[in-house]
Assembly symmetry: C2
Homo-oligomer: 335 residues x 2
DNA sequence: TTGTACGCGTTATCAT
DNA sequence: ATGATAACGCGTACAA
């Protein structure tokens, strides 16, 4: 029982004994239609099970009622148990639901994928584009903005493009974490930094550097890419280079988790010998051994606010150039 | 520098000195166009930066080139560090990318959300719908199928509807896990079951029951909802009811993780006093203390295969009624 | 307040 | 092989 012709505006009009235009008005909530007629139309709509054809509507209104969420897809990272990207998806979905718009999810990992995203978004097939933290200085956001397409980034764009963005106050969060270590008497504080082609990686390292330097303490840095594997490798590197370290700030909880395990394997006790602090506050953080002290970022809220900003932009409003959300230091037992 | 009119087929045609129809043919890869003309058209397309208007195309072709991925959204579950849903998203995205189609993500948690999904999908705004594991006996898949809309479920539909689905062999996976416990000499094997309104929860419990019963062992069951919190509560319940248990099979890694912690807090050693096995093999499983023995399910592959099935269905092919993927017992140190 | 008529950009059906 | 031309379903000036 397939292809039963979908009813069109025309069919509803016939049924209700009015013109297409009137039906269109009722469907779109115009107030200039007499009440009894509205009622008749609504009845016909219900009887026929009429649903507007979005393609036709888009063709004339030039709106698609959908926005794209673009995420970098490193095969291994985006959907490991890192909760950052899922959190952003969820926040965006919530906000779009309220606005009755669709979420088109695009992964832009491979060059082919990136090309595809570019084709799709520049083709104006969406009303706006929300970029989740990109790698390097991707020129696409600026390109879209130049085309007049609403764009918002999650995380400050690295190429300095003048694109509205939402982010958490990375430096402040890291500063609080490192201060906490210092206040706890730690003096040889290392860091496992995030990837230096992502703004979150860069800023968290900056926060570390500024804070230890201001305290007159030495810098000890190893670089990872936010994953557990990289965290373990970085921790081994730090232990080899600085066997006397007494604390580690890791730029992600996953790296912190792996670092704790590596420390234990090396015979160091956490936090007695080495204190560890992470960043993110993923759910697992409360279940590590010992439970992880970490900097919580409101990741779902980031997705929501970014989407809200985008919707306002798409509605033609002026928006603030940046929206910075606060972080919170969650003190558990690892530091 | 905004709204610069997008070039249309008409503009390209003028530029290339041919008709709209010819440009359309070239753009859509028809072979019946003379080579030199093809070249001229392609040049014009490139110069003008022409991109087809999808709405116009959809209007006439009746295809949208997008499919919907519908997920239940329990505020807490879908995007916690459970990797099931992100994994399905990723698999679907990969497969759709290859097919050059878009992924429209819809969360159907609230009644309002569910209603929205229904409106959108029945409105034929997508070429097909992939449902991620649903709660209870949702009538929507069957309703869509009755409308002739291609539908595939991830996980067997609970209402017995005749919808094609993909799933892993839950019972076989659980059986292997419980057997492993029995082979290791365990005789008082409890389970922390998943929610009994989801097919994965039901089947994993079935697998447990069948296996322990076949071995002449007693059943000890507590029910959770796949989350850590519920796992901890269930473990406490089991300890209270059956203090002499010597093994636990948990229907998710998150619950297994929490169970291990609860066991330790109760003074039981894992695996010496109580062996623990989970289900999923999320990344964290390798990093728990001790590392978790678990049943791995190929979750990304599930998303891929489901999407592939859906695409074939949308292409008018006949497809097999079900596709069952194998699981694998990953033996680590908890059992 | 309601209806008429046009146009949105594309593909498909015919002729040629 | 190519070009007119008619849909596709809707929103909206404009007319009544």
């Amino acid at each position: 029982m397939t292809g039963a012709q979908r009813p069109t505006l025309e069919a509803v009009a016939r049924r209700a004994g009015v013109s297409r235009a009137t039906v269109s008005r009722v469907v779109n909530g115009s107030t200039t239609v007499a009440e009894p007629i509205q009622e008749a139309v609504r009845q016909a709509v219900a009887e026929l099970g009429y649903v507007p054809n979005l393609a036709a509507r888009t063709l004339v209104t030039q709106r698609t009622d959908s926005i794209a969420l673009v995420m970098p897809e490193e095969a291994t990272r985006v959907f490991s148990d890192d909760q950052v990207f899922p959190g952003i998806i969820r926040g965006a979905a919530q906000e779009l639901e309220a606005a009755d718009k669709q979420l088109v999810l695009m992964l832009a990992g491979s060059p082919a994928g990136h090309e595809r995203v570019e084709r799709y978004t520049t083709g104006r097939h969406v009303d706006g584009v929300l970029f989740a933290s990109l790698h390097g200085a991707d020129p696409l956001p600026a390109k879209l903005a130049a085309l007049g397409i609403p764009v918002v980034c999650s995380g400050r764009p690295l190429d300095g493009a003048d694109i509205p963005y939402v982010d958490v106050d990375q430096v402040a969060g890291v500063t609080r974490a490192v201060r906490h270590l210092i206040d706890g008497g730690r003096r040889r504080i290392a860091t496992i930094a995030g990837p230096q082609d992502m703004v979150a990686g860069i800023e968290r390292l900056t926060g570390y550097r500024e804070t230890v330097t201001a305290a007159g303490l030495p810098e000890m840095v190893a670089v990872g890419d936010f994953t557990r594997e990289s965290g373990a490798a970085a921790m081994r590197e730090l232990l080899a280079d600085h066997p006397d370290l007494d604390a580690v700030f890791a730029a992600s909880d996953l790296m912190a988790h792996a670092a704790m395990r590596t420390l234990r394997e090396a015979g160091r006790r956490v936090p007695d010998d080495v204190a560890v602090i992470g960043f993110d506050d993923i759910e697992t953080a409360a279940y590590t051994d010992p439970p992880l002290t970490t900097v919580r970022q409101p990741i779902v809220e980031l997705g929501r606010q970014g989407t809200r900003l985008l919707l306002r932009l798409a509605a033609g409003e002026d928006v603030e150039p940046a929206l910075i959300l606060p972080t919170e230091l969650i003190i558990r037992e690892s530091a």
